[in-house]
Symmetry: C2
Subunit: 382 residues, 2 copies
C-alpha cells in the first residue's frame, strides 16, 4: 500500500458547499437546493490566478489526491497531483468537486428530495455534462475564483473541461483534455447500454427504488463494472498482466470447473467491490450523460464552430492502447481546435494501459509531457 | 425476408443419430448414450470423397443452409452453402452437426440424464473442443465417411477444424479456418466471464436448475448476448449502421429518458430474442470450451509442433475489422503452419463487419476467395 511520503499532499479532508438558490438543469427541472462535496489542495495565490479545476470521470469523486484520515490508499489522481507532481500543489490551488448526481457527498439519487421528503432514487433528474460545468461555476463563485488557470479532466472529465471552454470562455486560460472525445461512438453507447441493462434487469433494482426496499442491485452493478473494466484496459495490457494463467489447480484435471483464469477472479472481485461502494442510479445517470454528450450538436454539428467559442489554450493527450476513447477521437479534437485557430498541444503517448492509462502512475513520458504543459499553465498565473 | 431461390438448397429437414455406445469426454466423464442432430446438403459421391464437415460457432447449430418447412429465413451459413455458392452443393456432400451440449437437438443440458432420469441442467459435464471433434468422427463413421474433403469452420468452428487436423490427421484433406485463433486472449476470456456472470447472477438461474424450477434466466442471458453482440461487430461498422441516431423523439426535450439510441433498442431486442431461443447452460458450456481451447498446450505450447501432426492443407481467412479474433491471431496460425511445412492459403479480407464478417452475405472478395479455395478442395475429390 502507498503511504504518505514527501511527494504526497498528506492528510486532506473533504468540504461541502450548500447552495440554497434553485439550480435549473439542462433537462428543464430544477433542484431547489443542493450541495457539492469538494476538496482543495495547495494555496490560492493573492491575485487568485492559480486555481486548477479537476473534473472527475464516470466512477470518480472529489477525493483526487492526498489521504483521508485512516486510509492507506490516496485519492484517485494522487500520482499526478501533489508537491512536485504534474499538477504541482506548490504552484497551484487545486479544486476537485464531486459531480451532482454522484454518490460521494454531492446531491444525488441517494439523498432526500426536499420536495417529497423521500429518497430521490430513480426520480433524480437526468443530467448532462453542462449541468456539472454550471455547478462547478457556482463553486468557483463561492471560492472567489473568477478564472481557472486550467480546467483538467480525463475521459468524462475531459468532456467537462471542453464544455467549460464553450460555456464560460473567459473563465479559464487552459483546457487539458485527456483520453476523451467530442462524442461517444455507437460501440461506446452499446457498452454503456449493456451495463445499464445489467443493472436495471437485476430484480433487486426495483425500478431504481432499491433504497426504499432496502435492497441493492449488487449483481447487476457488478456485471456493469466488469463490462466497463474490460473496456478500460487494453487487450495487450490485460494479456501481459493476466495472460491465460489459471488462478489455481490444473486444467488437465478437466473436471474441476472451479478452476478459473486469473482475469476472471480479478474482474469478479473488482465488480463485487464496486457494487458495494457505488450507487446504481448514479451509474445510470453518469453513463447517460456520457452517451448524450455531443460537443458540437448545437453548433450545427461543426466542432470548429463549437471551438470558435473558446478563448483558452488547449492540451489534448491520448494513449495509443486506449480503444474506448481511441487516439483518433483526440486527433479529431486537436484538428478542430487547429481549424478554429486555437493554440493546441497534442500528444499521443505509448502505454500498455488502455483507457486507464490516464490514471496509472509511473508513466515517465506522460508525467513529463503533462508536467511540461502544467508548467506553461503555471507561468500564466504570475 | 430471403425466400428460396434457384441458388438455394430449398427445403431441408434435420436428422438425428442415436449413439448407444458410451462416449467418454475430455473431462473423464462418460455419456452412456447420446444423440446428434445434423443436416446434410448435396450428394455423397460414389467413392465417398466429397464430404465437407461444417463446424458451428458459439450460438450456431446444425441448420446451416436451406429452409425448414414454414421458415422465411434460411440456415445461418446459407450465403456460403448452396448450388454455385462457395461451398457448392453441386460438388460437395455437406454435413453439419449440432454440437454435444447444444440446445438444438443434440444431447445437452436441457435433456434428461438417463442415469438420474432428471434434466441434466448444470450437471451436464464440462466440454472441450475435442469432445465435439470426437463426436463428429462418430457421425462420419455412421455416414460412411472415412475422410472429409474438408473440415470448415468460423470462430469456435475454426477451432474444431484445427483440432480435427491434429486428432484425425488422415481423416481430412483440407482444413478451412475462418476468423479463429489458437487460443483466446485474456480480453476474450474476460468478456466471456462477464457474460457468464450476468447469467449465473440472475436469480432465475437457480444454480443452473432453472428448468426444474420452471424459471428462465432471460435477463442474464440477454445481457450476455448483448455483450457478445458488441464484440462481434466492429466499432466502425456499428457506427455506420447505427451512428448516434436516436430511435425516436427529440433529445433537446431533455427530460424524456425514454428516448434512446437506435443501437440500444437493437441490442436489447437481439438480447431478448436470444434469451428465449437459447439455453443458458449451453451458453456457459460453449463459452467455457472456447476459453479453455489452447491448440498447442499439450505440444509444449509450441504451435509448430502441434501442426506437425497435421497432414492436410490449410486455408486461414481473417477480417481486418475483427477485433474479437483479430487478423493477428490468424497470422499466428498461418505462420505456425508454414514453419511446420504445411501448405497454407492465407487471406486477410477488408470488411466493415467485424467478427460477424464470416457470416455476413454479399462480400464479393470473401466469396471469391472462399469459392476459389473450395474449388481446389473439389478437385481433390475426383
Amino acid at each position: 500500500m502507498t503511504k504518505p511520503s514527501e511527494d504526497s499532499i498528506g492528510l486532506v479532508a473533504p468540504q461541502t458547499l450548500h447552495f440554497k438558490e434553485p439550480f435549473t438543469l439542462a433537462c428543464g427541472k430544477t433542484l431547489s437546493e443542493h450541495q457539492i462535496a469538494f476538496e482543495t489542495y495547495g494555496t490560492l495565490n493573492e491575485n487568485r490566478s492559480n486555481a486548477v479545476l479537476i473534473c472527475h470521470a464516470l466512477s470518480g469523486h472529489h477525493h483526487a489526491a492526498g489521504f483521508h484520515e485512516g486510509d492507506s490508499k490516496p485519492g484517485w489522481w494522487d500520482a499526478y497531483i501533489g508537491p512536485g507532481k504534474a499538477i504541482d500543489t506548490h504552484k497551484f490551488y487545486v479544486v476537485c468537486t464531486n459531480n451532482i448526481g454522484g454518490c460521494h457527498g454531492s446531491t444525488g439519487p441517494t439523498d432526500t428530495n426536499p420536495e417529497t421528503q423521500s429518497v430521490w432514487g430513480s426520480d433524480f433528474p437526468p443530467l448532462r455534462v453542462r449541468d456539472w460545468v454550471h455547478s462547478q461555476a457556482r463553486v468557483a463563485d463561492a471560492l472567489g475564483i473568477d478564472q481557472w488557470a486550467a480546467v483538467v479532466g480525463g475521459s468524462l472529465g475531459g468532456m467537462q473541461a471542453m464544455r467549460w471552454a464553450l460555456e464560460y470562455p473567459d473563465r479559464l486560460r487552459h483546457c487539458v483534455v485527456i483520453a476523451s472525445a467530442m462524442k461517444l461512438t455507437a460501440q461506446n453507447i452499446a457498452f454503456n447500454q449493456t451495463a445499464r441493462q445489467a443493472i436495471t434487469s437485476d430484480p433487486e433494482f426495483k425500478a431504481g427504488e432499491y433504497l426504499k426496499h432496502n435492497t441493492l442491485p449488487a449483481s447487476g452493478l457488478s456485471v456493469a463494472r466488469m463490462i466497463g473494466h474490460i473496456t478500460y484496459l487494453s487487450d495487450d495490457g490485460m494479456g501481459q498482466k493476466f495472460g491465460r494463467e489459471l488462478r489455481s489447480g490444473d486444467f488437465n484435471q478437466g473436471t474441476d470447473e472451479l478452476v478459473e483464469f486469473q482475469i476472471e477472479s480479478y474482474l469478479r472481485y473488482q465488480g463485487a467491490k464496486f457494487s458495494q461502494a457505488f450507487d446504481a442510479n448514479t451509474y445510470i445517470l453518469m453513463t447517460r450523460a456520457l452517451d448524450y454528450f455531443d460537443l458540437a450538436r448545437e453548433y450545427d454539428n461543426d466542432p470548429v464552430k463549437a471551438f470558435e467559442q473558446a478563448q483558452c489554450d488547449f492540451a489534448v493527450i491520448a494513449f495509443d492502447s486506449d480503444w474506448r476513447f481511441a487516439p483518433e477521437r483526440s486527433k479529431e479534437i486537436a484538428s478542430a481546435l487547429l481549424h478554429a485557430d486555437k493554440n493546441v498541444f497534442y500528444a499521443e503517448i505509448a502505454s500498455p494501459y488502455g483507457h486507464d492509462a490516464f490514471l496509472v502512475p509511473n508513466q515517465p513520458r506522460y508525467e513529463a509531457l503533462f508536467a511540461s504543459y502544467m508548467n506553461k499553465v503555471a507561468s500564466s498565473c504570475d
